[in-house]
Symmetry: C2
Subunit: 149 residues, 2 copies
Amino acid sequence: MSLAPIASFDELSVGQRFDFGTLEMTRDEILDFGRRFDPQPFHVDEAAAAEGPFGGLIASGLHTLSAAFATMIRTGVLAKVSLGGAGMEIAWPAPVRPGDVLHVTGVVEELTPSRSKPDRGVAKLRFTAQRVADGAKVLDVLGTVFLKR
Amino acid sequence: MSLAPIASFDELSVGQRFDFGTLEMTRDEILDFGRRFDPQPFHVDEAAAAEGPFGGLIASGLHTLSAAFATMIRTGVLAKVSLGGAGMEIAWPAPVRPGDVLHVTGVVEELTPSRSKPDRGVAKLRFTAQRVADGAKVLDVLGTVFLKR
């Protein structure tokens, strides 16, 4: 989905919420990401995964993170102000399986104008992904990003 | 590079260090990852990137994270014991540019046997990537992983 791009860090407010829409984690994409970046049996080998700790194939947590982040970026809401990210704190509270549809939302948790660089601010933005089928939270990220003022 | 796989959580010790080898962040891979997961101008558009905040194309932090993680997984050191990850704290202290060669190392920071599940333990493993050319740290991750005992 598409959102109106904000024009400045100063348009944000703490507590502000965003709906970034949904994405589907397909089997092919799970296998492809796993082969490239996380080649553990439960991400890349269906037969081994069935015998493994999750009883089937699951997405790499890095894939869930990247796919949810992409869903946020593609809305365009930060396109005019993003100056990149400094860090993230990530939790993966539940596994993601092929075909899961995830709903990605965000909330502004902290806003700090930069002291050294008056043209920017530091925003702490939490974004989360919940499985639509059962509401389970599968990803929780607190990201620190630099935004233009 | 390849490392001897550990057979149990109990083989690890706090302070233990690992050399996971190096990887190269190529221009094509930076552009490909950016298009899929982080389509911001400074990750996907060379001309726009040259005019942007980093004065040129840089890798998505999620790409640097995923590539460094892949380098660790491909050594095989955790292949017999990995039960997946619970979370990460990530910092990206400096940008990564096309052609950068990164050296990935790790250190065991904390080991906690699970109380509820005697067949596993929780390890906090820090892995970092440094640019070989100048020694700059470009990625710092504290990951929490479940490992078989």
